[in-house]
């Protein structure tokens, strides 16, 4: 019987201890003084055990490439005599058509607004000696280099053109945005100007589909050659000098 009493005492004592252990941990316990940002060393607050714990977090980022296009060479229509005989042009049909692939210059053949293309009198075209070569007039197609951006499975990049206000201008043979097609002005002496329009391209895998005109960008960098047509403008009188313009070449997937 006395043993039973002892067991009861022990049980009550244990229950008491259990009750103490379940009492809430002292709220807002005073923080200990492990240096901020470290878990080095033991708790030196006088308490037992450590007062900090660490783990490793993970983070990531992904850099995506972007297409870029840079001008290697500007479009140049080459040398010509003063158009329209030095007087005011009357019809706007004088032209120089610059071939993107070969750089050769041709003309539509209309004769009202005349443009006489100049070339090197002693140039050797490889065929007729120094007979002069119509393609030696200092002209050059534009060359634009597309780099980076071989993203995912994309194997085509589309080339488009716009004026300096960002208005889309047509490719040669297209008439979707004719209102913008005379917006690119090559301005020279006395603010006289030609227009540049009817752009063409030559590049690896050049072709067209419903989305536009594209090149194969499987291998980068990709060089895109650009041709265009220079036209006289009604009422303009052209003096000798240099005529220049800028325009936008756009590349997209």
């Amino acid at each position: 019987m006395s043993l039973l009493k002892e067991i009861r005492k022990l049980s009550l004592l244990s229950i008491g201890l259990a009750a103490i252990s379940f009492a809430p941990t002292p709220a807002n316990a005073v923080p200990v003084d492990t240096p901020a940002g470290t878990c080095v060393g033991a708790d030196d607050s006088g308490g037992a055990g450590v007062d900090c714990v660490t783990t490793t977090g993970h983070m990531s980022a992904s850099v995506v490439s972007t297409l870029s296009i840079n001008e290697i060479r500007a479009v140049s229509f080459g040398n010509m005599a003063t158009p329209c005989g030095g007087g005011a042009c009357t019809t706007g049909d004088g032209d120089i058509i610059l071939n993107a692939a070969t750089g050769a210059r041709t003309q539509t053949g209309l004769t009202t607004d005349t443009i006489v293309m100049l070339h090197g009198a002693d140039a050797n075209d490889g065929a007729a000696g120094n007979a002069g070569n119509a393609n030696s007039g200092g002209q050059a197609p534009g060359v634009y280099r597309v780099s980076a951006g071989a993203e995912g499975a994309a194997t085509q990049v589309y080339i488009a053109f716009a004026d300096n206000a960002g208005n889309f201008v047509d490719y040669s043979g297209e008439n979707f945005y004719t209102a913008n097609d005379t917006n690119i002005h090559l301005i020279g002496p006395a603010a006289a100007y030609f227009t540049a329009q009817d752009f063409t391209i030559d590049c690896t895998g050049a072709a067209s589909d419903v989305y536009g005109h594209y090149c194969d960008n499987t291998t980068l960098p990709l060089d895109v050659k650009v041709g265009a047509t220079l036209k006289t403008v009604v009422g303009q009188t052209y003096g000798a000098g240099k005529y220049v313009a800028t325009y936008n070449v756009m590349v997209s997937y």
Binding site: A29, A61, T66
Partner: protein, 160 residues
């Protein structure tokens, strides 16, 4: 007699010992921190991508295009005592690494709930708490980063 011992004494001993054994604190990373997929469209200047603790993403300096949004990091802290006061710090040397240089620097870690040594937080009555973390990724001026994935780690410390 043996019946009495099994019925009363042993259960109370367990009641005494179990609560103290439970004080092994645990931290679980439920979700990693991600700054998303982006391209630098205006190279040259210093750029930042900021993920706040709620997961919102901003590019305060512009010059970037975000192709895929990032997200915050989430940690679950458990098995501290209920109402334990603590605060969080991050090892300042954390960076996002890659196999090539330059790397990205990451700093300005922010927390939800906010906390620091002067503004400590405490665990819930169930002795746990969920912490959400944001940070700022830096693209230094003049640096060019090779396209591809970048990975990094940071050290998450709880002082209590």
């Amino acid at each position: 007699m043996q019946t009495l011992i099994w019925r009363y004494l042993l259960p109370t001993l367990f009641l005494v010992t179990i609560p103290f054994a439970a004080h092994a604190n645990q931290i679980y990373e439920l979700r990693s921190l991600d700054f998303g997929a982006f391209a630098v469209t205006q190279p040259g200047g210093a750029r930042r991508i900021v993920i706040d603790p709620t997961g919102a993403q901003t590019t305060p300096d512009g010059g970037l295009v975000i192709f895929k949004n990032g997200h915050n990091s989430i940690f679950r802290i458990s098995q501290l005592n209920p109402a334990t006061l603590f605060y969080i710090t991050i090892d300042p040397s954390s960076v996002v690494h890659s196999s090539t240089t330059p790397e990205f620097e990451v700093d300005t870690f922010t927390f939800d709930p906010p906390n620091d040594i002067g503004n400590m937080i405490h665990t819930d009555p169930d002795a746990s708490l969920t912490i959400r973390i944001g940070a700022t990724l830096h693209i230094e001026a003049g640096e060019t980063h090779t396209p591809g994935p970048y990975r990094g780690t940071f050290t998450f410390l709880i002082n209590y």
